[in-house]
Protein backbone atom coordinates (compact mmCIF):
# COMPACT_ATOMS: atom_id res chain seq x y z
CA UNK A 1 0.00 0.00 0.00
CA UNK A 2 1.42 3.36 -0.95
CA UNK A 3 1.64 5.99 1.77
CA UNK A 4 -0.81 8.26 0.04
CA UNK A 5 -3.27 5.34 -0.16
CA UNK A 6 -3.06 4.91 3.57
CA UNK A 7 -3.93 8.53 4.27
CA UNK A 8 -6.65 8.42 1.66
CA UNK A 9 -8.31 5.49 3.44
CA UNK A 10 -8.00 7.17 6.82
CA UNK A 11 -9.46 10.47 5.65
CA UNK A 12 -12.19 8.65 3.72
CA UNK A 13 -13.03 6.66 6.86
CA UNK A 14 -13.43 9.88 8.85
CA UNK A 15 -15.58 11.25 6.05
CA UNK A 16 -17.94 8.27 6.22
CA UNK A 17 -18.05 8.65 9.97
CA UNK A 18 -19.06 12.30 9.60
CA UNK A 19 -21.59 11.77 6.80
CA UNK A 20 -23.38 9.25 8.98
CA UNK A 21 -22.94 11.34 12.14
CA UNK A 22 -26.08 10.36 13.98
CA UNK A 23 -25.92 6.71 13.16
CA UNK A 24 -22.25 6.64 14.08
CA UNK A 25 -23.05 8.24 17.42
CA UNK A 26 -25.89 5.79 18.02
CA UNK A 27 -23.53 2.93 17.24
CA UNK A 28 -20.97 4.30 19.68
CA UNK A 29 -23.67 4.61 22.35
CA UNK A 30 -24.88 1.05 21.95
CA UNK A 31 -21.41 -0.38 21.79
CA UNK A 32 -20.24 1.64 24.79
CA UNK A 33 -23.20 0.42 26.85
CA UNK A 34 -22.41 -3.19 25.96
CA UNK A 35 -18.73 -2.73 26.66
CA UNK A 36 -19.56 -1.10 29.97
CA UNK A 37 -21.42 -4.19 31.14
CA UNK A 38 -18.72 -6.43 29.71
CA UNK A 39 -16.14 -4.31 31.51
CA UNK A 40 -17.84 -4.69 34.87
CA UNK A 41 -17.96 -8.43 34.54
CA UNK A 42 -14.37 -8.43 33.42
CA UNK A 43 -13.57 -6.42 36.53
CA UNK A 44 -15.20 -9.02 38.76
CA UNK A 45 -13.37 -11.71 36.89
CA UNK A 46 -10.04 -9.97 37.28
CA UNK A 47 -10.50 -9.50 41.00
CA UNK A 48 -11.50 -13.08 41.60
CA UNK A 49 -8.59 -14.20 39.49
CA UNK A 50 -6.04 -12.09 41.30
CA UNK A 51 -7.33 -13.28 44.67
CA UNK A 52 -7.17 -16.84 43.52
CA UNK A 53 -3.59 -16.45 42.39
CA UNK A 54 -2.67 -15.05 45.72
CA UNK A 55 -4.28 -18.06 47.34
CA UNK A 56 -2.28 -20.29 45.06
CA UNK A 57 0.94 -18.66 46.05
CA UNK A 58 0.16 -18.97 49.71
CA UNK A 59 -1.12 -22.44 49.43
CA UNK A 60 1.38 -25.07 50.38
CA UNK A 61 0.78 -28.74 50.38
CA UNK A 62 3.25 -30.71 52.47
CA UNK A 63 4.21 -34.26 51.59
CA UNK A 64 5.64 -36.20 54.51
CA UNK A 65 7.95 -39.03 53.60
CA UNK A 66 7.95 -42.40 55.19
CA UNK A 67 10.84 -42.79 57.65
CA UNK A 68 12.00 -45.89 55.88
CA UNK A 69 12.85 -43.94 52.74
CA UNK A 70 16.62 -43.66 52.34
CA UNK A 71 18.27 -40.35 51.59
CA UNK A 72 19.42 -41.57 48.18
CA UNK A 73 15.79 -41.89 47.11
CA UNK A 74 14.93 -38.22 47.71
CA UNK A 75 16.01 -36.90 44.30
CA UNK A 76 13.97 -39.62 42.61
CA UNK A 77 10.88 -38.65 44.59
CA UNK A 78 11.43 -35.00 43.79
CA UNK A 79 11.67 -35.86 40.12
CA UNK A 80 8.33 -37.66 40.31
CA UNK A 81 6.70 -34.73 42.06
CA UNK A 82 7.96 -32.19 39.54
CA UNK A 83 6.83 -34.46 36.72
CA UNK A 84 3.22 -33.84 37.70
CA UNK A 85 1.98 -31.17 35.37
CA UNK A 86 0.19 -28.96 37.85
CA UNK A 87 3.10 -28.76 40.32
CA UNK A 88 4.59 -25.31 40.33
CA UNK A 89 7.38 -25.41 42.94
CA UNK A 90 8.74 -28.18 45.08
CA UNK A 91 11.10 -27.60 48.00
CA UNK A 92 12.73 -30.29 50.09
CA UNK A 93 12.64 -29.77 53.86
CA UNK A 94 14.80 -32.16 55.85
CA UNK A 95 13.67 -33.31 59.27
CA UNK A 96 16.48 -31.31 60.82
CA UNK A 97 15.40 -28.13 59.11
CA UNK A 98 11.84 -28.79 60.13
CA UNK A 99 12.92 -29.28 63.68
CA UNK A 100 14.81 -26.01 63.70
CA UNK A 101 11.79 -24.24 62.27
CA UNK A 102 9.55 -25.63 64.96
CA UNK A 103 11.93 -24.65 67.67
CA UNK A 104 11.90 -21.12 66.42
CA UNK A 105 8.18 -21.02 65.90
CA UNK A 106 7.31 -22.36 69.35
CA UNK A 107 10.05 -20.71 71.36
CA UNK A 108 7.92 -20.65 74.51
CA UNK A 109 7.95 -24.43 74.68
CA UNK A 110 11.68 -24.32 74.65
CA UNK A 111 12.10 -27.11 77.21
CA UNK A 112 10.47 -29.79 75.19
CA UNK A 113 12.73 -29.10 72.29
CA UNK A 114 15.91 -29.00 74.31
CA UNK A 115 14.98 -32.27 75.93
CA UNK A 116 14.44 -33.82 72.58
CA UNK A 117 17.68 -32.38 71.32
CA UNK A 118 19.60 -33.78 74.23
CA UNK A 119 18.21 -37.25 73.76
CA UNK A 120 18.90 -36.99 70.03
CA UNK A 121 15.32 -37.69 69.08
CA UNK A 122 13.70 -35.92 66.15
CA UNK A 123 10.05 -36.87 65.87
CA UNK A 124 9.59 -34.99 62.60
CA UNK A 125 9.75 -36.40 59.11
CA UNK A 126 11.49 -35.39 55.94
CA UNK A 127 9.07 -33.57 53.67
CA UNK A 128 8.48 -31.73 50.41
CA UNK A 129 6.59 -28.42 50.30
CA UNK A 130 4.67 -28.23 47.04
CA UNK A 131 2.74 -25.37 45.42
CA UNK A 132 0.42 -25.71 42.45
CA UNK A 133 -0.05 -23.77 39.25
CA UNK A 134 -3.81 -24.10 39.02
CA UNK A 135 -5.55 -24.42 42.30
CA UNK A 136 -8.81 -25.47 40.70
CA UNK A 137 -7.13 -28.81 40.00
CA UNK A 138 -6.20 -29.23 43.65
CA UNK A 139 -8.00 -32.50 44.36
CA UNK A 140 -6.67 -34.29 41.30
CA UNK A 141 -3.14 -33.19 41.97
CA UNK A 142 -3.24 -34.24 45.60
CA UNK A 143 -4.42 -37.63 44.49
CA UNK A 144 -1.53 -37.93 42.04
CA UNK A 145 0.92 -36.87 44.74
CA UNK A 146 -0.40 -39.45 47.16
CA UNK A 147 0.36 -42.18 44.63
CA UNK A 148 4.08 -41.49 44.73
CA UNK A 149 5.95 -44.21 46.54
CA UNK A 150 7.46 -43.15 49.85
CA UNK A 151 4.88 -40.48 50.59
CA UNK A 152 3.40 -41.33 53.93
CA UNK A 153 0.98 -38.52 54.49
CA UNK A 154 -0.17 -35.34 52.83
CA UNK A 155 -1.07 -32.28 54.82
CA UNK A 156 -3.63 -30.38 52.82
CA UNK A 157 -4.43 -26.78 53.36
CA UNK A 158 -7.74 -25.96 54.98
CA UNK A 159 -9.58 -27.93 52.38
CA UNK A 160 -13.13 -26.87 53.13
CA UNK A 161 -12.58 -23.14 52.67
CA UNK A 162 -10.57 -23.87 49.58
CA UNK A 163 -13.36 -25.97 48.12
CA UNK A 164 -15.87 -23.28 48.88
CA UNK A 165 -13.82 -20.57 47.26
CA UNK A 166 -13.16 -22.79 44.30
CA UNK A 167 -16.84 -23.45 43.67
CA UNK A 168 -17.69 -19.79 43.92
CA UNK A 169 -14.78 -18.82 41.66
CA UNK A 170 -15.69 -21.39 39.04
CA UNK A 171 -19.28 -20.19 39.01
CA UNK A 172 -18.18 -16.58 38.68
CA UNK A 173 -15.84 -17.48 35.82
CA UNK A 174 -18.59 -19.35 34.07
CA UNK A 175 -21.15 -16.58 34.43
CA UNK A 176 -18.63 -13.91 33.38
CA UNK A 177 -17.55 -15.76 30.27
CA UNK A 178 -21.09 -16.37 29.12
CA UNK A 179 -22.38 -12.92 29.81
CA UNK A 180 -19.39 -11.29 28.14
CA UNK A 181 -19.63 -13.60 25.14
CA UNK A 182 -23.36 -13.11 24.69
CA UNK A 183 -23.10 -9.36 25.08
CA UNK A 184 -20.37 -9.11 22.48
CA UNK A 185 -22.38 -11.17 20.02
CA UNK A 186 -25.47 -9.09 20.73
CA UNK A 187 -23.60 -5.83 20.30
CA UNK A 188 -22.09 -7.09 17.07
CA UNK A 189 -25.58 -7.80 15.79
CA UNK A 190 -26.90 -4.39 16.82
CA UNK A 191 -23.88 -2.58 15.39
CA UNK A 192 -24.17 -4.42 12.10
CA UNK A 193 -27.79 -3.43 11.74
CA UNK A 194 -27.19 0.13 12.84
CA UNK A 195 -24.39 0.63 10.36
CA UNK A 196 -26.39 -1.06 7.65
CA UNK A 197 -28.81 1.86 7.78
CA UNK A 198 -25.92 4.21 7.12
CA UNK A 199 -24.87 2.13 4.16
CA UNK A 200 -27.91 3.21 2.17
CA UNK A 201 -26.37 6.66 1.98
CA UNK A 202 -23.04 5.13 0.96
CA UNK A 203 -24.61 2.80 -1.55
CA UNK A 204 -24.55 5.30 -4.41
CA UNK A 205 -20.91 6.01 -3.85
CA UNK A 206 -20.01 2.33 -3.56
CA UNK A 207 -21.85 1.72 -6.81
CA UNK A 208 -19.94 4.51 -8.57
CA UNK A 209 -16.65 3.21 -7.22
CA UNK A 210 -17.45 -0.20 -8.59
CA UNK A 211 -18.13 0.87 -12.14
CA UNK A 212 -15.06 3.05 -12.32
CA UNK A 213 -13.04 -0.03 -11.40
CA UNK A 214 -12.35 0.07 -7.66
CA UNK A 215 -11.20 -3.19 -6.11
CA UNK A 216 -13.19 -4.64 -3.22
CA UNK A 217 -10.46 -3.77 -0.75
CA UNK A 218 -10.21 -0.22 -1.97
CA UNK A 219 -13.89 0.13 -1.14
CA UNK A 220 -13.65 -1.80 2.11
CA UNK A 221 -10.70 -0.08 3.82
CA UNK A 222 -12.40 3.24 4.57
CA UNK A 223 -15.29 1.37 6.15
CA UNK A 224 -12.86 -0.57 8.29
CA UNK A 225 -11.32 2.72 9.37
CA UNK A 226 -14.79 3.97 10.20
CA UNK A 227 -15.38 0.83 12.26
CA UNK A 228 -12.12 1.44 14.12
CA UNK A 229 -13.18 4.98 14.98
CA UNK A 230 -16.54 3.80 16.30
CA UNK A 231 -14.98 0.92 18.21
CA UNK A 232 -12.22 2.96 19.81
CA UNK A 233 -14.46 5.84 20.85
CA UNK A 234 -16.95 3.40 22.37
CA UNK A 235 -14.12 1.58 24.16
CA UNK A 236 -12.77 4.79 25.61
CA UNK A 237 -16.19 5.86 26.80
CA UNK A 238 -16.89 2.47 28.36
CA UNK A 239 -13.47 2.47 30.01
CA UNK A 240 -14.14 5.80 31.72
CA UNK A 241 -17.54 4.60 32.95
CA UNK A 242 -16.10 1.35 34.25
CA UNK A 243 -13.40 3.28 36.04
CA UNK A 244 -15.92 5.62 37.64
CA UNK A 245 -18.24 2.81 38.66
CA UNK A 246 -15.43 0.73 40.05
CA UNK A 247 -13.94 3.44 42.20
CA UNK A 248 -17.25 4.86 43.40
CA UNK A 249 -19.47 1.82 43.68
CA UNK A 250 -17.70 -1.49 43.59
CA UNK A 251 -14.81 -0.72 45.90
CA UNK A 252 -17.17 0.77 48.47
CA UNK A 253 -19.51 -2.19 48.35
CA UNK A 254 -16.71 -4.71 48.02
CA UNK A 255 -15.07 -3.47 51.20
CA UNK A 256 -17.77 -5.30 53.11
CA UNK A 257 -16.90 -8.68 51.64
CA UNK A 258 -13.95 -10.00 53.55
CA UNK A 259 -12.88 -12.89 51.37
CA UNK A 260 -12.49 -10.87 48.23
CA UNK A 261 -9.76 -8.31 48.39
CA UNK A 262 -10.56 -5.71 45.73
CA UNK A 263 -7.61 -4.39 43.79
CA UNK A 264 -6.98 -0.70 43.36
CA UNK A 265 -8.07 0.37 39.87
CA UNK A 266 -4.53 1.25 38.82
CA UNK A 267 -3.59 -2.39 39.22
CA UNK A 268 -5.99 -3.51 36.51
CA UNK A 269 -6.34 -0.33 34.47
CA UNK A 270 -3.98 -1.35 31.67
CA UNK A 271 -5.54 -4.76 31.29
CA UNK A 272 -8.97 -3.16 31.28
CA UNK A 273 -8.06 -0.56 28.67
CA UNK A 274 -6.55 -3.24 26.47
CA UNK A 275 -9.61 -5.44 26.84
CA UNK A 276 -12.03 -2.61 26.08
CA UNK A 277 -10.08 -1.47 23.02
CA UNK A 278 -9.70 -4.93 21.55
CA UNK A 279 -13.38 -5.73 22.03
CA UNK A 280 -14.38 -2.33 20.65
CA UNK A 281 -12.13 -2.70 17.62
CA UNK A 282 -13.28 -6.23 16.98
CA UNK A 283 -16.97 -5.37 17.08
CA UNK A 284 -16.49 -2.09 15.19
CA UNK A 285 -14.40 -3.53 12.40
CA UNK A 286 -16.36 -6.74 11.95
CA UNK A 287 -19.67 -4.89 12.15
CA UNK A 288 -18.61 -2.28 9.66
CA UNK A 289 -17.02 -4.73 7.24
CA UNK A 290 -20.01 -7.06 7.34
CA UNK A 291 -22.49 -4.27 6.74
CA UNK A 292 -21.12 -3.74 3.22
CA UNK A 293 -20.81 -7.42 2.40
CA UNK A 294 -23.89 -7.49 0.23
CA UNK A 295 -22.57 -4.75 -2.04
CA UNK A 296 -19.84 -6.98 -3.30
CA UNK A 297 -21.65 -9.52 -5.40
CA UNK A 298 -21.81 -7.34 -8.51
Amino acid sequence: MRGSRFFYFISQGFKYFKTNKYISLAAIGVLAACLFIVGNFWMIYLNVDINLHRLEEENQTVLFLDDSVEEEAFPEIEKQIVAIENVDTCVFVSKEEAFADYREAYAEEYEIYSELTESGINPLRNSFAVTMKDITLYQETVYQLSKIEGVARIRKQNQTTLDGIMTVAKTIYFVCYWIMGLLLVASLYIIMNTIKIARFTNQRQINIMKFVGATDWFIRWPFIVEGCIIGLLAALLAYLFVWYTYVNVMVKLGGTIAVLELQPFEQVSRQMLLMMCSCGLLVGVVGSAFSIRRYFDV
Partner: protein, 230 residues
Protein backbone atom coordinates in the same frame (compact mmCIF):
# COMPACT_ATOMS: atom_id res chain seq x y z
CA UNK B 1 -8.00 -4.15 -36.87
CA UNK B 2 -8.48 -5.57 -33.39
CA UNK B 3 -11.86 -6.83 -32.26
CA UNK B 4 -12.94 -4.74 -29.30
CA UNK B 5 -15.84 -6.91 -28.24
CA UNK B 6 -17.62 -9.97 -29.35
CA UNK B 7 -20.85 -11.67 -28.27
CA UNK B 8 -21.20 -15.29 -29.35
CA UNK B 9 -24.72 -16.73 -29.04
CA UNK B 10 -25.28 -14.91 -25.77
CA UNK B 11 -28.51 -15.44 -23.86
CA UNK B 12 -29.51 -13.95 -20.56
CA UNK B 13 -32.38 -15.22 -18.48
CA UNK B 14 -32.86 -13.40 -15.18
CA UNK B 15 -33.65 -15.18 -11.96
CA UNK B 16 -37.35 -14.41 -12.32
CA UNK B 17 -37.48 -16.13 -15.71
CA UNK B 18 -37.37 -12.99 -17.91
CA UNK B 19 -35.40 -13.67 -21.04
CA UNK B 20 -33.65 -10.35 -21.64
CA UNK B 21 -31.28 -11.50 -24.39
CA UNK B 22 -31.85 -14.40 -26.71
CA UNK B 23 -29.00 -15.81 -28.77
CA UNK B 24 -27.26 -12.52 -29.50
CA UNK B 25 -24.12 -12.57 -31.66
CA UNK B 26 -22.29 -9.43 -32.62
CA UNK B 27 -18.81 -8.12 -33.16
CA UNK B 28 -17.51 -4.59 -32.70
CA UNK B 29 -14.09 -3.61 -34.00
CA UNK B 30 -11.66 -1.23 -32.38
CA UNK B 31 -12.41 2.41 -33.20
CA UNK B 32 -16.04 1.87 -34.22
CA UNK B 33 -18.98 4.06 -33.23
CA UNK B 34 -22.07 1.94 -32.66
CA UNK B 35 -25.64 2.81 -31.69
CA UNK B 36 -27.75 0.22 -29.95
CA UNK B 37 -31.44 0.99 -30.34
CA UNK B 38 -34.73 -0.73 -29.75
CA UNK B 39 -37.96 -0.49 -27.77
CA UNK B 40 -38.07 -0.45 -24.01
CA UNK B 41 -37.34 -3.84 -22.51
CA UNK B 42 -35.44 -5.00 -25.61
CA UNK B 43 -32.40 -5.92 -23.52
CA UNK B 44 -30.10 -2.96 -24.26
CA UNK B 45 -29.14 -2.25 -20.66
CA UNK B 46 -28.75 -5.95 -20.03
CA UNK B 47 -26.20 -6.09 -22.84
CA UNK B 48 -24.17 -3.39 -21.09
CA UNK B 49 -24.43 -5.13 -17.71
CA UNK B 50 -23.03 -8.28 -19.29
CA UNK B 51 -20.23 -6.27 -20.85
CA UNK B 52 -19.23 -4.89 -17.46
CA UNK B 53 -19.66 -8.28 -15.83
CA UNK B 54 -22.29 -6.89 -13.54
CA UNK B 55 -24.28 -9.91 -14.65
CA UNK B 56 -23.13 -13.16 -16.20
CA UNK B 57 -24.72 -14.59 -19.36
CA UNK B 58 -26.85 -17.69 -19.00
CA UNK B 59 -25.37 -19.00 -22.22
CA UNK B 60 -22.77 -17.98 -24.76
CA UNK B 61 -19.44 -16.25 -24.69
CA UNK B 62 -18.43 -12.61 -24.33
CA UNK B 63 -14.96 -11.44 -25.29
CA UNK B 64 -13.74 -7.93 -24.46
CA UNK B 65 -10.37 -6.83 -25.88
CA UNK B 66 -9.39 -10.45 -26.37
CA UNK B 67 -10.42 -11.53 -22.90
CA UNK B 68 -13.12 -14.13 -22.32
CA UNK B 69 -15.25 -12.75 -19.50
CA UNK B 70 -16.28 -16.17 -18.24
CA UNK B 71 -12.67 -16.90 -17.33
CA UNK B 72 -12.38 -13.68 -15.36
CA UNK B 73 -12.14 -14.09 -11.58
CA UNK B 74 -14.09 -11.81 -9.27
CA UNK B 75 -10.97 -9.95 -8.24
CA UNK B 76 -10.02 -9.24 -11.88
CA UNK B 77 -13.33 -7.56 -12.66
CA UNK B 78 -12.21 -4.07 -11.51
CA UNK B 79 -9.38 -4.20 -14.06
CA UNK B 80 -11.83 -5.06 -16.83
CA UNK B 81 -13.93 -2.06 -15.82
CA UNK B 82 -10.92 0.24 -15.96
CA UNK B 83 -10.63 -0.54 -19.66
CA UNK B 84 -14.02 1.04 -20.25
CA UNK B 85 -15.64 4.30 -19.31
CA UNK B 86 -19.37 4.19 -18.63
CA UNK B 87 -21.97 6.90 -18.67
CA UNK B 88 -25.55 6.54 -17.48
CA UNK B 89 -28.79 8.37 -18.00
CA UNK B 90 -28.79 9.60 -14.39
CA UNK B 91 -25.17 10.88 -14.47
CA UNK B 92 -24.25 9.20 -11.15
CA UNK B 93 -22.07 11.98 -9.83
CA UNK B 94 -21.16 12.32 -6.16
CA UNK B 95 -23.10 15.33 -4.94
CA UNK B 96 -20.71 16.12 -2.10
CA UNK B 97 -17.75 16.51 -4.46
CA UNK B 98 -17.12 19.31 -6.90
CA UNK B 99 -16.57 18.75 -10.60
CA UNK B 100 -12.81 18.40 -10.35
CA UNK B 101 -13.03 15.91 -7.47
CA UNK B 102 -15.75 13.90 -9.18
CA UNK B 103 -13.44 13.35 -12.11
CA UNK B 104 -10.35 12.89 -9.93
CA UNK B 105 -12.33 10.28 -7.98
CA UNK B 106 -12.05 7.81 -10.87
CA UNK B 107 -8.29 8.30 -10.91
CA UNK B 108 -8.00 7.91 -7.14
CA UNK B 109 -9.75 4.60 -7.39
CA UNK B 110 -7.26 3.35 -9.93
CA UNK B 111 -4.26 4.27 -7.84
CA UNK B 112 -3.01 7.23 -9.88
CA UNK B 113 -0.47 9.56 -8.38
CA UNK B 114 -1.45 13.02 -7.23
CA UNK B 115 0.72 14.58 -9.90
CA UNK B 116 -0.85 12.74 -12.79
CA UNK B 117 -4.30 13.58 -11.40
CA UNK B 118 -3.44 17.27 -11.35
CA UNK B 119 -2.23 17.08 -14.94
CA UNK B 120 -4.90 14.88 -16.41
CA UNK B 121 -8.15 16.13 -14.85
CA UNK B 122 -7.94 19.76 -16.12
CA UNK B 123 -7.09 18.46 -19.57
CA UNK B 124 -10.12 16.18 -19.73
CA UNK B 125 -12.36 18.90 -18.31
CA UNK B 126 -11.24 21.28 -21.04
CA UNK B 127 -11.97 18.63 -23.67
CA UNK B 128 -15.52 18.51 -22.31
CA UNK B 129 -15.74 22.34 -22.28
CA UNK B 130 -15.92 22.38 -18.50
CA UNK B 131 -12.71 24.21 -17.64
CA UNK B 132 -14.58 27.04 -15.90
CA UNK B 133 -16.82 24.70 -13.90
CA UNK B 134 -14.11 22.77 -12.07
CA UNK B 135 -15.06 24.18 -8.65
CA UNK B 136 -18.82 23.91 -9.11
CA UNK B 137 -20.91 21.21 -7.45
CA UNK B 138 -23.28 18.92 -9.41
CA UNK B 139 -26.35 20.63 -7.97
CA UNK B 140 -25.16 23.90 -9.54
CA UNK B 141 -24.97 22.44 -13.06
CA UNK B 142 -27.48 21.86 -15.84
CA UNK B 143 -28.27 18.32 -16.95
CA UNK B 144 -26.09 18.66 -20.01
CA UNK B 145 -23.18 19.93 -17.93
CA UNK B 146 -23.58 17.12 -15.44
CA UNK B 147 -23.51 14.60 -18.23
CA UNK B 148 -20.32 16.18 -19.55
CA UNK B 149 -18.77 15.76 -16.10
CA UNK B 150 -19.78 12.11 -16.22
CA UNK B 151 -18.20 11.85 -19.66
CA UNK B 152 -15.01 13.44 -18.37
CA UNK B 153 -14.94 10.92 -15.55
CA UNK B 154 -15.43 8.08 -18.03
CA UNK B 155 -12.57 9.40 -20.16
CA UNK B 156 -10.08 10.29 -17.51
CA UNK B 157 -8.47 6.86 -17.23
CA UNK B 158 -7.96 6.63 -20.99
CA UNK B 159 -10.33 3.72 -21.64
CA UNK B 160 -10.33 1.68 -24.83
CA UNK B 161 -14.11 1.72 -24.88
CA UNK B 162 -16.76 4.23 -23.91
CA UNK B 163 -20.17 2.80 -23.09
CA UNK B 164 -23.12 5.16 -22.71
CA UNK B 165 -26.57 3.96 -21.65
CA UNK B 166 -29.07 6.60 -22.78
CA UNK B 167 -26.66 9.47 -22.10
CA UNK B 168 -29.15 12.04 -23.34
CA UNK B 169 -32.21 10.55 -21.65
CA UNK B 170 -32.40 13.27 -19.01
CA UNK B 171 -31.33 16.36 -20.91
CA UNK B 172 -33.04 18.66 -23.35
CA UNK B 173 -32.71 18.13 -27.10
CA UNK B 174 -30.13 20.73 -28.10
CA UNK B 175 -27.86 19.67 -25.24
CA UNK B 176 -28.22 16.12 -26.57
CA UNK B 177 -26.60 17.19 -29.80
CA UNK B 178 -23.67 18.55 -27.89
CA UNK B 179 -23.19 15.29 -25.96
CA UNK B 180 -23.36 13.26 -29.17
CA UNK B 181 -20.87 15.64 -30.75
CA UNK B 182 -18.48 15.07 -27.86
CA UNK B 183 -18.90 11.31 -28.12
CA UNK B 184 -18.12 11.61 -31.79
CA UNK B 185 -14.96 13.59 -30.98
CA UNK B 186 -13.92 10.95 -28.50
CA UNK B 187 -14.39 8.38 -31.23
CA UNK B 188 -12.16 10.39 -33.57
CA UNK B 189 -9.36 9.84 -31.09
CA UNK B 190 -9.60 6.10 -31.79
CA UNK B 191 -11.70 5.23 -28.75
CA UNK B 192 -14.47 2.74 -29.46
CA UNK B 193 -17.88 4.15 -28.57
CA UNK B 194 -21.06 2.24 -27.82
CA UNK B 195 -24.22 4.29 -27.29
CA UNK B 196 -27.64 3.06 -26.26
CA UNK B 197 -30.25 5.62 -27.18
CA UNK B 198 -33.88 6.36 -28.05
CA UNK B 199 -33.01 9.56 -29.98
CA UNK B 200 -34.31 8.84 -33.45
CA UNK B 201 -33.20 12.13 -35.03
CA UNK B 202 -29.69 11.93 -33.70
CA UNK B 203 -29.23 8.37 -34.86
CA UNK B 204 -30.56 9.17 -38.28
CA UNK B 205 -28.37 12.25 -38.62
CA UNK B 206 -25.13 10.70 -37.52
CA UNK B 207 -24.98 7.86 -40.03
CA UNK B 208 -23.20 5.37 -37.81
CA UNK B 209 -23.56 1.65 -37.38
CA UNK B 210 -26.92 0.86 -35.79
CA UNK B 211 -27.82 -2.38 -34.06
CA UNK B 212 -31.54 -2.79 -33.55
CA UNK B 213 -32.58 -5.02 -30.67
CA UNK B 214 -36.08 -6.29 -30.08
CA UNK B 215 -37.29 -8.78 -27.51
CA UNK B 216 -33.73 -9.76 -26.78
CA UNK B 217 -32.77 -10.48 -30.38
CA UNK B 218 -30.76 -8.59 -32.98
CA UNK B 219 -33.30 -7.59 -35.65
CA UNK B 220 -30.91 -5.64 -37.79
CA UNK B 221 -27.30 -4.48 -37.80
CA UNK B 222 -26.37 -1.94 -40.50
CA UNK B 223 -23.59 0.45 -41.28
CA UNK B 224 -24.83 4.04 -41.70
CA UNK B 225 -28.15 2.76 -40.40
CA UNK B 226 -31.38 4.54 -39.57
CA UNK B 227 -33.32 4.26 -36.32
CA UNK B 228 -36.32 2.03 -36.68
CA UNK B 229 -35.41 -0.53 -39.28
CA UNK B 230 -36.95 -3.91 -39.55
Amino acid sequence: MLTMLEFEHVSKVYGNGTCALDDVSLKIEEGEFVFIVGPSGAGKSTLIKLLMKEEDPTEGKIIVAGQDLSSLRHRDVPYLRRKMGVVFQDFRLINELNVFDNVAFAMNVTNSSKRSIERRVPYVLSLMNLADKARAFPSELSGGEQQRVALARALVNNPMLIVADEPTGNIDPHMSWEIMGLLNEINMRKTTVLVVTHEKNLVNAMKKRVIYLEKGRVRSDRMEGQYSER
